[in-house]
């Protein structure tokens, strides 16, 4: 297998994901409603309750909307990745997964490419969300939109790999409601997405540490800092490290017989 084969395969998987995205664009548009509700409604109600002091990367007092926007970017990716991973092994994507796994290229390569392709589609949604966020005066520096891209890619790969790992190995979580209650909400609420962690530390030190051990916290911080053109090596380092570990575990541990890919009999 030559590099060109890998390249054609990579492009083919990305292309298919975009074609499907384009077919289902109304569904994706409605997926933006959730983060927008948080940004416009929740944030408006909440900012009265919560005072935010000056913390890095911000250099001045900021609105609550500005604070939670990066967290909501993370939320978009979180929901999409989990939903995407479930569809890979349980429902909509089964046919395409069968075709995917018939490729002679190595399986880890195929799976990571597939996760990246799904990630690119959610990153597209993140950018639409950030554009709409301008309407409520969330205005990161212009270069921030570009600087945040690597963090978004890492986050989507990390969460996609986590979703794949969970969907393959935890039978009890094969429906979205289960994943929502046991993965998405805990990860989202026990992170720095909605409140700065020093606030959490005041309220409950043990919860603070739970948040610190949540990789989603560091992904959100990597997004937040790079969006405001600040370098946060710890957030980046942890996100990258966890991404590599999860991607290895998810691809090496992938077993089609633990999914519905093979057909009804193996279910």
């Amino acid at each position: 297998m030559k590099a060109a084969h890998y390249w054609h395969c990579f492009v083919g998987i990305q292309t298919r994901e975009w074609l499907r995205f384009w077919q289902q664009r109304t569904r994706f548009a409605s997926a933006l409603v959730r983060p927008l509700l948080w940004l416009v409604v929740f944030a408006a109600g909440f900012r009265a309750v919560l005072g935010i002091s000056i913390i890095p990367p911000y250099q001045t007092y900021i609105t609550y909307e500005t604070y939670i926007a990066p967290g909501l970017c993370g939320m978009i990716i979180l929901f999409n990745s989990m939903q995407g991973a479930l569809s890979m092994v349980y429902d909509r994507e089964l046919g395409s997964m069968r075709v995917l796994l018939m490729s002679p290229l190595p399986r880890p390569f195929l799976l990571v490419t597939k996760l990246l392709a799904m990630g690119v589609v959610s990153i597209g949604q993140v950018y639409v969300f950030l554009l709409l966020a301008l309407l409520v005066d969330v205005e990161p520096p212009l270069w921030g939109y570009l600087a945040v891209l690597p963090a978004l890619i890492l986050t989507s790969l990390m969460l996609g790999a986590l979703g794949l790992l969970i969907a393959t190995w935890i039978k009890q979580l094969e429906n979205f409601a289960g994943v929502m209650n046991f993965v998405i909400f805990p990860m989202f609420f026990m992170s720095s997405a909605l409140y700065p962690l020093w606030k959490m530390n005041e309220a409950s030190p043990w919860l603070y540490w739970v948040c610190q051990f949540n990789p989603f916290t560091h992904a959100v911080e990597a997004i937040r800092f790079s969006l405001y053109l600040e370098w946060n090596p710890m957030a980046y380092g942890i996100t990258a490290g966890v991404t590599v570990v999860l991607a290895l575990l998810a691809t090496a541990g992938f077993r089609p017989q633990r999914t519905k890919i093979l057909g009804t009999q193996s279910a």
């Binding site: 083919g12 998987i13 298919r16 077993r255």
Partner: protein
């Protein structure tokens, strides 16, 4: 290309699904894998396509073990799955291009090979239609055309006629037989429908995970002392 399966056993948990299955497929021939539902056909296909990991025994394609040279083996195999594996909202051509890309073909190459196959399958005029607009028989033909894009030497079909009406079933079966003759393709056609099998086919009868018969259809009937394959099938499996 020769395909040999030796001593294949497979179990889901405690439940054995295949027991000591061994066979060799003859290059360029049509083989019918006949078995009632639950006989282990899909599991056997899972092993041949590497969707299931081998537990016991080995499969060799042109002498190369699936365990040691999986990539090489996958290049030689074209598969049509029992369930639809097309993107219904994408066009026929887009579906073919996805598959071709997965096999490392460039877009240009994918396009020319895809059009060639579609022409052969009399579907070229539908290339830009969404798969959803095609009837069941045509969808199946697209899946076979797709399975042949990377020019495999072995075509595996797992109950490809499920859900088709009698006329489409017959047409599809004949179509694959022609491919087999024209291209020298080795075909393994799994089915539980006896009418899809001819007396002079190579027939493998699988029942409860065991290979009960393997050989020329007529020879099997003679050995069993039965009049035709339907009777043989009934006698061996209690089905049909």
């Amino acid at each position: 290309m020769t395909i040999e399966a030796s001593n294949l056993s497979f179990r889901y948990g405690d439940k054995p699904v295949l027991r000591e299955v061994s066979f060799a497929l003859t290059s360029g021939c049509f083989h019918a894998l006949l078995g009632p539902n639950g006989a282990g056909k899909s599991t056997l296909f899972g092993l041949l396509t590497r969707l299931l990991a081998l537990q016991q025994g080995d499969i060799r394609l042109a002498g190369q073990s699936l365990k040691q040279q999986p990539a090489e083996a996958m290049r030689q195999i074209g598969v049509v799955f029992q369930q639809n594996a097309l993107d219904l909202d994408l066009t026929v051509r887009q579906n073919l291009q996805y598959h071709a890309a997965l096999h490392g073909l460039s877009r240009k190459e994918a396009r020319s090979r895809g059009d060639r196959e579609l022409e052969r399958f009399e579907l070229l005029d539908r290339a830009n239609d969404a798969v959803r607009q095609l009837n069941g028989g045509h969808r199946r033909r697209v899946e076979i055309a797709r399975a042949l894009l990377h020019e495999p030497s072995l075509l595996l079909l797992d109950e490809p006629t499920v859900g088709l009406d009698v006329a489409s079933r017959k047409a599809l079966n004949e179509h694959v037989r022609i491919l087999c003759e024209e291209d020298g393709l080795t075909v393994l056609w799994a089915t539980h429908l006896i009418e899809e099998v001819r007396a002079d086919d190579r027939v493998l009868i699988l029942h409860q995970g065991q290979l009960l018969a393997d050989g020329n259809g007529q020879a099997i009937c003679d050995a069993e002392g039965t009049r035709d394959l339907a009777e043989t099938f009934h006698a061996l499996t209690g089905a049909g």
